[in-house]
Amino acid sequence: MSGEMIKGTARARVIRSGEGFRELGLLVFIAILCVAFQLRNHSFLTLANIKDLLDNTAILGILSVGMTLVLITGGIDLSIGATIALAGMTSALTGMVIPAINPLLSILEGMAVGLVIGSVIGLLVARFNILPIIATLGLMNIVRGATYIESGGAWVSSYQMSDGFKALSTGTTLGVNNLVFIALVIFVLFWYFVNHTKTGRRIYAIGSNPEAADISGIPRRRLLWLVYATMGVLAGLAGVLWVSKFASAQGDTALGYELNVIAACVLGGVSISGGSGKASGLILGVILLGMLNNALPLINVSPFWQQFIQGVVILAAVLTNVAVKRNNIRLALRKRAI
């Protein structure tokens, strides 16, 4: 290795290292899958199927926005499945009692339920320093139990729901299905919040280097609480939309759904150890998982292989994410060659 210094430091614009590269990789992977699925079944890339895909993935998208905020701070939230059930059940029961209730009010009611649960978790994690996985594991059981008790074993079927309530998920605004519209609005808000607001950037800072964040006066505890409260609200909203979409509210709604949401975030490049995860990556991760859920039954892959394929895709995505990061470090090291 020749010893002389790396020649000249011209005004080289140091490209944003691996991050951009990762999203590109994900996009290429999705494109390949699209082609493969299309070959296996010509109705995959039809407008109707795309619409179905988006409808089914909208709720997953809404939840993964909240989960990404939690993951960026290095935390995790296992309780959202239960929050969806409780929020959905509460709004459905109220809808049964007061049929004329305005659907938007039902949504607010669901979000309120979510806010309460999210705030309790935020308090436990930020104020009492409990590890997020333990706090949300405890809350998951408590909230799921509460849902069963609230419903008293009863359930709400579609005929007991006002048409307005059901239209929440089937109706359209500006030609786009409500669910997809809400998901897009939330994604835009998330993109704006994470890239353009002070609080948003500070959430990244907390995840990236907690000590430095404390020293430079970033209110870590308050932001942690905010993140879990937001996740709660979004889970509450998703609960109402879930009940409206499937026109039924039961005790065991969305049992174990939190793992799908975490998988979507991980596919989108959000690192569990906190600090990194981009809006563009997240959208691709959600779409990729949505595609798997939509296409695998379509192209007649035996249902028994579906779970295995999903697991392998997640592991592959996560390992390539690490490989890309390692490559950047090697690059930076070579720059310092003596």
Partner: protein
């Protein structure tokens, strides 16, 4: 304060002792999992039946639909020396060991709705003859699609024993010459999850564009399919039938997506189960073929041979719900 504390303990003790001696026996029913509407109604029917006869009913269901959860519940019931256990099995074979223990402890064991291995049960209360269910559903699909075209089945989990039983009889029925141009293209599994049932239904519609009819022998699946067909406006193009709750299916029967479907009144199933329980405990029947007993408001029943080698009691033919009677039933269950 101490004195009153002592007094309450004394009262409590007396009460428990009294409770056990007063009531001759407790009758228990164990459903698949909690929060399942169909199960709630079935247990309600069982409760009315038992209390009608002056006994006490114990209604149990685990939070997860797993065999191991039901096993620990059954062990708790054995410890409580209940008179009989009516089990709605999450698994055909897995409950055999624990049920044998219950029988050994002198408890009358029989299954209801979802059967268990004949070796572990005295008899099985079947809402309708599994073979007849298979035939009726295939016949219904045949009528809806005018005898010609592709049909698909949307089931619950791949492990649900009653589902697999009905599907096998449906396939057997389809081998008859009458159904020669009715083609079963796929059996999909919605795992009794709403979101999976929806995506599986959408998958069926797109994988088989000229699919004529979907048979969903599960309350969750048939409701999810109803919603998808309604949203996609496929009324008249793709028919739907299966086993569904009138309350859940009301909208889809009224809007014509599902001309008619079948089920049995889960309340009646539970009610019949309660009478099987008391009959077994009272020694009126032993569960053998030919035994006769009366089941309160439902009249008399005889025990017949079951296709799986054990014996069963048939509630009666599956009840048909269509536009004419859905209005009346949708508020019942």
């Amino acid at each position: 304060m101490r004195k009153s504390f002592l007094r309450t303990i004394m009262v409590l003790a007396i009460m428990t002792v009294a409770a056990t001696s007063l009531v001759a026996q407790n009758y228990a029913i164990v459903f698949k999992n909690t929060g399942n509407p169909y199960g709630e109604k079935q247990m309600a029917g069982f409760k009315t039946g038992i209390e009608e006869q002056g006994f006490q009913a114990i209604l149990r269901a685990p939070d997860q639909p797993t065999a191991e959860a039901q096993i620990s519940i059954i062990q708790q019931l054995i410890a409580q020396k209940v008179a009989s256990i009516c089990i709605v099995g999450n698994d055909f074979d897995a409950l055999t060991p624990v049920l044998n223990q219950a029988t050994a402890a002198g408890i009358k064991v029989f299954s209801l709705d979802s059967s268990v291995n004949p070796a572990a049960r005295l008899t099985h209360v079947n809402q309708a003859d599994s073979v007849k269910i298979g035939q009726t559903l295939v016949q219904a699909a045949y009528d809806m699609i005018g005898g010609k075209g592709e049909i698909a089945i949307l089931s619950a989990t791949s492990q649900a024993s009653n589902q697999n039983l009905w599907i096998s009889y449906m396939k057997q029925e389809l081998t008859l010459p009458k159904y020669k141009n009715v083609k079963l293209v796929k059996v999909a599994y919605g795992d009794d999850l709403r979101d999976k049932s929806v995506s599986e239904t959408e998958g069926l519609l797109k994988a088989y564009p000229n699919l004529k009819c979907i048979i969903a022998p599960t309350t969750v699946g048939v409701a999810a399919a109803g919603k998808v067909l309604t949203d996609k406006g496929l009324k008249g193009k793709v028919f739907l039938t299966g086993l569904g709750l009138p309350s859940e299916m009301a909208t889809y029967i009224e809007n014509g997506v599902c001309p008619y479907m079948f089920l049995w009144n889960p309340i009646d199933v539970g009610y019949l189960g309660s009478y099987v329980a008391t009959a077994l405990v009272g020694g009126k029947i032993t569960g053998a073929v030919g035994d006769k007993f009366s089941a309160g408001r439902l009249g008399n029943y005889t025990i017949t041979k079951a296709p799986d080698g054990g014996t069963e009691v048939l509630l009666g033919p599956p009840f048909k719900f269509d536009k004419s009677n859905i209005e009346e039933w949708k508020t019942v269950y």
